[in-house]
Symmetry: C2
Subunit: 302 residues, 2 copies
Amino acid sequence: MSILVVGSVAFDTLATPYGKREKILGGSATYFSLAASYFTKVRVVAVVGDDFAAEHEGVMKARGVDTTGIERAAGKTFHWGGEYGDNVNEAKTKFTDLNVFQNFRPQIPQAYGDTEYLFLANIDPKLQLEVRRQMPRVKMTGGDTMNLWINNSRPQLIETLKKVDILLINDGEAKLLASDTSLARAARKVLAMGPRALVIKHGEYGATIFFPDGVHPFRAPALPIEEVQDPTGAGDSFAGGFMGYIASQGKLDRPVLTRAMFYGSVMGSFAVERFGTERLQQLTKDEIQQRFDLFRSLTHLD
Amino acid sequence: MSILVVGSVAFDTLATPYGKREKILGGSATYFSLAASYFTKVRVVAVVGDDFAAEHEGVMKARGVDTTGIERAAGKTFHWGGEYGDNVNEAKTKFTDLNVFQNFRPQIPQAYGDTEYLFLANIDPKLQLEVRRQMPRVKMTGGDTMNLWINNSRPQLIETLKKVDILLINDGEAKLLASDTSLARAARKVLAMGPRALVIKHGEYGATIFFPDGVHPFRAPALPIEEVQDPTGAGDSFAGGFMGYIASQGKLDRPVLTRAMFYGSVMGSFAVERFGTERLQQLTKDEIQQRFDLFRSLTHLD
């Protein structure tokens, strides 16, 4: 079944210990779409500027992503500049030129009205809620957020969380949102805010999905990678693999959710192997399945 | 088969967000022994002072641990004072009174000469090597170390590592030892120093065992625990469960090593639930097996 992602399509200018890139294709919706495209039909709602060329959109189209919902506004595309040092878990932002993204008001194309799975990537929780309300037929909603909204738009975020079925955030965000330094306690508190499940991403240590009391969590590994060329988009790629797999299965039981955790981790591990979306553009289903099996052998007793 | 641990038997005075304790039984060899005692016959070599009472030794004896090798020296027992804040992963040392431990020269009792499994807990690598040389019949040696030795006794440590089959250290120690910020690369570099396998403990994220090139690593989870009452001894308890299980199996294939990782994680998770050695003194085999099964359900796809 199809999945709709609402988020950013952007340009990234970045430096890592492995090299530099100028204005390459990035953005949460881009990484999400490409990762999810290996599992199901993907639709995007985002905004870009005059500088967004056919070749950029072509990257998504080549993966079969429906880009009808990408609005073109007068001005420049969202442009992020950042740098990673030896610690690939920490990005140092050099600049954030929001450009046309600053006035983004997501409009859902009529043709997307029958979408059953929705992912609200990291945008203003007020917009996330507006989108959710425009999609009454959605069966399941995933969402992301960040420290900015947790700190500055908490009441709005709390409202939005009531409409999110599965929230995907990282350790620091979970602790900040719950105002608690224990990850396990933070998970319980966030779940009390509304989501039916909470995925906490631990970077190189993998990710854990927490459920309300009485149901065991589940932890998927990440691959110990020697060369993380560019960590940008790892979390969005995780979300793409996770949500894309769920949408492909059309149900939400434990076997589906635990496999979705594995596929999320798999897609995140591919994303960081090359700069930008390079690796996600050219995967095969075989490669994905092989890595899935590798992750199984990394964690499963014989 | 029996396992010998050489390390510290000590008193700890500590404070955590859950309470305080004065001069309670601690030390690497103590935690290791208690954890390993649920799997195999354990022997200890350590040194204590005049203030070490029969009741303290009784804690180990009650678990069937052979304490013949605990030497009594004139003076006081090693006494560590520390504090944990909200971040249970960081201990703040208040004082380290080495006392009789300062002049510890491990002597292996004759009756221990047939020991087949050896664990060199975190002591001066020079002493670790001396012990290893006193034990020619040992089939397999595990070892631990810390930043102090990596920084100040590197040449000696490098010599010792050539005689250690499996090294168990944490993330920071692995990166420091390898002078590398990537965990995967650090693992490869440490393995090149001699050990046949390397266990890197990630605290609340579990632990990974790395093997030389061509063999997949394996990752065991840790339990997301809401109440870590006292993190002291978690690593030594992991080592006790890990090595104790290996000694009980008498072989070193992948099924044994991966299960040993689980048992290590299980014993570490019990240790932190109560202050000091409290929880490790009163476990049942059923409780251990139940937690093992829980860890399996935390990580295994249905």
